[in-house]
């Protein structure tokens, strides 16, 4: 019964989008339960996801966070697979200015590339870092570029009766997927019988990714900053130097802040040629096709 706090007491409705469907009779509500007692940190889920969607370098729809605890010889490594929480009350959906992101009636929070303008409002709104901007350079010109992308709970597989690719690939059987509104589903039984937690429950987003056996420190946002290894600091700095997005406000630690702000401005200016090319291409199609 310790799970009642993860269900908001006051239902919210966010504008034009599908209202919350968790616990609503006659509605499906797909959810994922991740049993962290079974996760071995093999990252198969990340690879399966990358392969399923041909994700470019530097962006993830799902990843596994790792925390090392204790002092030698009494040490423990804990994992936390992360992905979009497909919130019942998603802030990203509410804040999107063009309805590019929306909530499917079965609970999936999805992105429409053809509507996305790349304003990144949803990335700012998402409390879970679950969204990323697809880069300008892709291996195939037909792939979406410069629009926001996110986990879809593999809706294309689920609609065919399959489970998401990360669930399929999980070697320990830690990831489970199903309709949490169906009392006979495995996920509903686990949510009802196990002590489950969600990320940032205080924000009222009602996430649909439940964790069993989560370590409190790995869930904690300030801990992610204060308890990084020096190697993590260096790697993140290298990532910021080498994975230049368009007009991102990355601050390299140890560098003077205002010089980073200036470099960020230069990054914005560097986007002019490729955006101009795309703009001209769009006008050409509009006028001549």
């Amino acid at each position: 019964m310790g799970n009642q706090e993860i269900q908001p007491k006051i239902p919210r409705s966010y504008g034009l989008q599908t209202p919350g469907s968790k616990g609503v009779a006659g509605k499906k509500r797909y959810a994922m339960v991740i049993d962290l007692r079974k996760c071995i940190g093999c990252m198969s889920c990340s690879i399966a996801c990358k392969t399923e969607y041909g994700l470019p370098l530097g962006v993830w729809r799902t990843w596994v966070k790792v925390v090392d605890k204790g002092k030698y010889p009494n040490t423990k490594r804990v994992f936390m697979p992360r992905l979009c929480n497909h919130c019942d009350y998603p802030v990203c959906v509410r804040n999107c200015p063009t309805q590019a992101t929306y909530k499917h009636e079965d609970g999936f929070v999805l992105q429409r590339y053809n509507r996305c303008i790349g304003c990144r409002t949803c990335m700012v709104a998402c409390p879970y870092n679950a969204r990323h901007l697809l880069p300008e350079k892709r291996t195939d010109d037909n792939l979406p570029r410069m629009v926001v992308d996110k986990c879809t709970f593999c809706i294309h597989r689920v609609k065919k009766g399959l489970v998401p690719s990360c669930v399929q690939a999980c070697v320990g059987g830690a990831r489970l997927f199903g309709d949490v509104n169906d009392p006979n589903s495995e996920v509903a039984k686990l949510v009802a019988t196990e002590t489950v937690t969600v990320l940032k429950p205080e924000l009222g987003t009602s996430p649909s990714v439940y964790y069993i056996g989560a370590d409190w420190e790995i869930m904690d946002e300030p801990h992610s900053y204060t308890n990084r290894t020096d190697q993590m600091v260096d790697e993140f700095n290298d990532f910021k130097r080498n994975h230049k997005g368009d007009a991102f406000a990355d601050i390299i630690e140890g560098e003077p802040l205002m010089s980073e702000v200036g470099k960020n401005w230069m990054g914005f200016l560097r986007t002019i040629p490729h955006k101009a090319k795309e703009t001209l291409h769009a006008f050409k199609i509009f006028l001549f096709d």
Binding site: G15, L16, W60, K65, V66, D68, K69, G70, K71, R82, V91, R94, N95, C96, P97, T98, Q99, R115, C116, I117, G118, C119, R120, T121, V124, A125, P127, Y128, N129, L133, M146, V147, V148, L203, E217, D220, E221, H223, Y225, T226, R228, Q231, M232, F236, K240, H243, A247, F248, A249, D250, I251, P256, L257, G262, N264, W265, F268, E278, T279, F283
Partner: protein
């Protein structure tokens, strides 16, 4: 004590950067300048009428840069048109409303300026009232667009729009005083704007500075007495990583030094009034930087 270290995590970018902070500064300075422009024609303070066109022109120029910046900051610049098409437009998205305001505000200012040039007090007053509502709403919205992100603890405060509006008011006055000072160099004596007006504007600016410091104090209390994330936001983001734009640029250069300059007998000097105005205009940019980038900083490690 047991050690606990993060050894692997995915890396994330901070989504909104310098472009957005510059946009917030520009739109704020524009709204602030326009408020000054309306003093004479909307609020009936006749001695401010000579300032109206200079202030209005400053506001229009500031705001004309904004759509270029914002459109080009989009991943798909051509698709900016989606923000205006029914069926795409999303009423719960603050940016959707902001787009309407950014489109209508400069137009309303131009109509107002037309009636000011035509010396038509009735229509200048009516269009001025509409324009001032739009000016304040346009800048109020910039605070709201950051505020309505519950996951960004530094931004998620109802003080945000007030801080933005106060910053707009003082930076608008500051910028306009500098513009008037430069303008006076190039105009014949009879067309120069009286220095007494500049001093009065500087006094208004001083009241705004006091209110801004008060709001920052309230924000300081909330963050230092807040939850773990808010405390981290203050201790790490504001006092360490963004120390320069927050502590030095905004608080010291943009607020405290100008306040000292404007509350001592030094304020009677022209140079001091202009220096204080310049410092305020520059200092408010510091607030835009830490507010936009700082608010998103901590979460990029989560």
């Amino acid at each position: 004590m047991e050690e606990s270290v993060v050894t692997y995590n995915a890396f994330h970018h901070v989504a909104w950067g310098t472009t957005i902070s510059v946009y917030f500064w520009l739109v704020g300075a524009s709204a602030g300048s326009f408020v000054i422009s309306s003093f004479g024609w909307v609020f009936g303070l006749k001695r401010y009428k000579p300032l109206a066109m200079t202030a209005s022109a400053t506001a229009i120029v500031m705001l004309l840069i904004v759509p270029i910046l914002l459109t080009w900051d989009l991943g798909k610049p051509v698709r900016f048109i989606y923000l205006l098409i029914p069926g795409y437009w999303h009423s719960t998205g603050p940016m959707a409303w902001g787009t309407l305001l950014i489109c209508t505000y400069p137009m309303s200012m131009m109509v107002y300026s037309y009636f000011v040039i035509k010396n038509d007090p009735t229509f200048a007053r009516i269009t001025g009232i509409v324009a001032i509502v739009l000016a304040l709403s346009t800048h109020w919205y910039t605070g709201v667009v950051m505020e309505l992100n519950p996951g960004r603890f530094l931004n998620h405060t109802a003080l945000a729009p007030l801080l933005f509006l106060t910053g707009a008011f003082i930076s608008g006055i500051g910028l306009m005083n500098v513009v008037v000072w430069v303008r006076n160099f190039f105009l014949p004596e009879e067309k120069k704007i009286d220095w007494a007006l500049i001093h009065e504007m500087a006094q208004f600016m001083m009241y705004g500075i006091v209110f801004d410091i008060f709001l920052l104090y309230l924000d300081f209390m909330q963050t230092t007495y807040g939850n773990q994330n808010e405390v981290m936001g203050h201790d790490v983001v504001l006092m360490q990583v963004f120390r320069f734009p927050y502590l030095w640029l905004e608080l010291v250069i943009g607020l405290i030094i100008p306040l000292i300059l404007l509350t001592t007998p030094l304020k009677r000097s022209k140079s001091v009034a202009i220096l204080a105005s310049l410092l305020v205009a520059v200092g408010v940019y510091g607030m835009r930087v830490w507010w936009v980038m700082g608010g998103q900083y901590l979460q990029s490690f989560y």
